[in-house]
Amino acid sequence: MRVEAKLLLGLGAFFGVMAVVYWNWGHENAGGVMMFAGMLLCLVPGSYYYWWSRRMKARPEDDPNATQGEGAGVVGSFPGSSIFPFTLGMGAFFVVLALVFGIWFLVPGLGLAAWALLGATAEGRRGGHV
């Protein structure tokens, strides 16, 4: 966890320095804001990782001398196959078509998206084969 945290914090710090230099030199708002936001996008998860890395034992994947047995166990519970990504994708497709061809495309679009939302949630609760 330590390396991941340092990676993000380092990037964030660099973007922060760059944002300060750029804004003070060029007084251009758009780029300054975007670089500042880029800094936050690295610092926020980075500091979260850092906070945790100080409070937890090194994971097997952080331990250079770990044996494969240490990784045994459950990673997570996922449905093995699912139609709902496809459903949601088609829903998003129709929503985008509504931007172009007319508002009525929202009916199938949001309908499919809602079906996917309900279906995927139910499926996630059920668990199943991966």
């Binding site: 990676l7 994947e61 250079p64 196959s81 931007l99 991966v130």
Partner: protein, 585 residues
């Protein structure tokens, strides 16, 4: 060395509630399997196939463009159709081929296997990424079937050209919509890759033992997360300007047209590295394997990638030098700085090959072709980072030639990646003879079509024109360029023929190349959840260590001993130098 075999790694929980004895492996088949699968290998293969189809579609557009330019007053397409063609050529190649091929296709398949993970961190989100990408591609290409034709404002959609008065019609809106969908697909893939690399590594696979390809994909994923939301926001603003009467990018209502360029290129330049870094990773892996050596300067490679990623956020306005409202010294300096880590990479690639046992397979030839072509593209990029030179060459064919050198280098590396990892994905090798023919057509074609464009650009030929003044020199140069494009087209035909010819003909076994990283430890194609067993991971090339215990890597980052580990190559070179000196003395 028998103790290297260990119990199976972590598996994702198999919850037997309700459907005992119903094995997923024997579940859905055919199109239903393709539609419902959440296996990263199936999704990655869909991504790869779709993006290669996009490469062929975009390539056809390019061939039509080059055919039009073969004569000064070409009449193959109308001026309006020409605008649509170059817009969609750029859009298809950048948005729908290069990125998705790398981070959706090969990375999706290879990264989890390289780090010993059973799947991507969010399998269903991964599937959603693919569907958004596919539907986004279809949306964008649907423009050709509308009355007004496809989008025709260039792949950069500069305001005010892209507003509803200058570019009315559904084609432009479909372009925006398709880009929204593929943009979200990229963001989801970025999330997925980052989470997979941070959380699903096998025991012992510390960050500094990850293969370079995985490192590059991590940096790519972080760049995606930094850059793509900006583009999505910009597209929504553009859509609002076009339809809801806002004036974000129009001077008339108090807006700022250059803001679009800032937003677009704040995405667009990191995007260049989002495109390039995965292919750097592919070339690194290929060169290391076919030189039978570890990657030279592993850590410097990682830090070079990281610094390219970090610097890429501060260089966007070098696309905007001629607007006259950007901070020239800042962007020039930052752009020139990128040459440093890129140069480190080039030297590391050469160092990896140095005194290696080179095997010129198709994949290796492609990687070497990448190295050469990328060097030309990179060096001309350094010219363009200098504002005075950019003022002179901006919007000429010099810029076109520069980035086509870069992206054709990426195509070479990507083809190398297909020849290299294709056997792992499918279980079958591609024919090497056809591969070599393809390489030479692709490599020579690339040089023949870009070199005349450099000269044309310095001579002042603007980009995005369908006709040009009569001049024997320009005609000859354009003809050469068209000839090169035809060679590249032939290389793609050879590739398709090769895939058909080699179809299930040459079974490859688990490790046909005597490769080094973890994906070659498992079967080809890998089983569900990728591994039956894992070797002990003590360096960045565990498969090599397992297969060649007598030449094991020095462990990276074992820690605790306090010793600093030189890469073996450094020792070899130092040793060789000493040996030579002894002889001289």
């Amino acid at each position: 060395m028998v103790d290297l075999i260990t119990p199976p790694p972590a598996i994702i929980d198999v919850d037997h509630d309700g459907d005992e004895g119903h094995d997923e492996h024997h579940g859905a088949t055919g199109i239903l399997k393709w539609m419902t699968s959440t296996d990263h290998k199936v999704i990655g293969l869909s991504y790869t196939v779709t993006s290669v189809v996009m490469l062929i579609i975009g390539g056809l557009f390019a061939e039509i463009i080059r055919a039009q330019l073969a004569s000064p007053n070409g009449t193959l397409v109308s001026l309006a159709q020409y605008n649509e063609l170059f817009t969609m050529h750029g859009s298809v190649m950048i948005y729908l081929f290069a990125g998705p091929f790398a981070f959706g296709g090969l990375a999706n398949i290879i990264v989890p296997i390289q780090i010993g993970a059973p799947d991507m961190a969010f399998p269903r989100l991964n599937a959603l990424s693919y569907w958004l990408y596919l539907m986004g591609s279809i949306t964008m290409l649907m423009g050709f079937f509308t009355a007004g034709g496809a989008a025709n404002f260039g792949w950069v959609a500069y305001a005010p050209l892209s507003n509803s008065i200058n570019t009315p019609g559904a084609g432009a809106d479909l372009w925006i919509g398709g880009l929204l969908l593929t943009g979200f697909s990229a963001i989801f893939t970025g999330v997925n890759l980052t989470a997979t690399i941070f959380y699903l590594r096998a025991p012992g696979m510390t960050m500094f033992r990850m293969p370079i390809f995985t490192w590059n994909m991590l940096v790519t994923a972080i760049l995606i997360l930094l850059a793509f939301p900006v583009l999505t926001a910009g597209l929504i603003m553009l859509y609002c300007d076009r339809h809801f009467g806002t004036h974000i990018f129009s001077v008339a209502g108090g807006g700022v047209p250059v803001l679009w360029q800032h937003i677009f290129w704040f995405w667009g330049h990191p995007e260049v590295y989002i495109l390039a870094l995965p292919f750097f990773g592919m070339a690194t892996e290929i060169i290391a394997v076919f030189s039978k050596k570890p990657v030279f300067g592993y850590k410097s490679m990682v830090f070079a990638t990281l610094s390219i990623g970090a610097l890429s956020l501060g260089v966007w306005a070098h696309h905007m030098f001629t607007t006259g409202v950007v901070l020239l010294p800042f962007f020039s300096f930052m752009s020139l700085m990128i040459a440093v880590p890129t140069g480190i990479k080039i030297f590391n690639w050469i160092g990896t090959m140095w005194r290696g046992e080179l095997w010129f397979s198709t994949a290796m030839l492609m990687a070497l072709g990448f190295l050469f072509t990328f060097l030309i593209g990179g060096l001309t990029g350094i010219y363009l980072a200098s504002p005075p030179l950019d003022f002179f060459t901006h919007d000429t064919y010099f810029v076109v030639a520069h980035f086509h050198s870069i992206v054709m280098a990426l195509v070479l590396a990507g083809m190398g990646g297909l020849y290299f990892w294709g056997p792992k994905i499918t279980g079958y090798l591609l024919n090497e003879k056809f591969g070599r023919i393809q390489f030479w057509f692709l490599f020579i074609g690339t040089q023949v079509f870009t070199f005349p464009q450099y000269i044309l650009g310095l001579d002042g030929m603007p980009r995005r024109i369908a006709m040009y003044p009569h001049s024997p020199q320009w005609k000859t140069l354009n003809d050469w360029s068209t000839f090169g494009a035809i060679l590249v087209g032939i290389s793609m035909i050879v590739f398709v023929v090769n895939v058909g010819y080699s179809w299930k003909k040459y079974p490859c076994g688990d490790n046909p190349w005597d490769a080094q990283t973890l994906e070659w430890f498992t079967t080809s194609p890998p089983p569900h959840h990728n591994f039956y067993r894992l070797p002990q991971i003590r360096s960045e090339r565990p498969t090599w260590d397992y297969n060649h215990p007598e030449h094991r890597s020095l462990a990276h980052g074992t820690g605790g001993t306090g010793t600093h580990h030189e890469p073996p190559l450094a020792n070899a070179i130092v040793g060789a130098l000493e040996h030579d000196q002894d002889h001289d003395a």
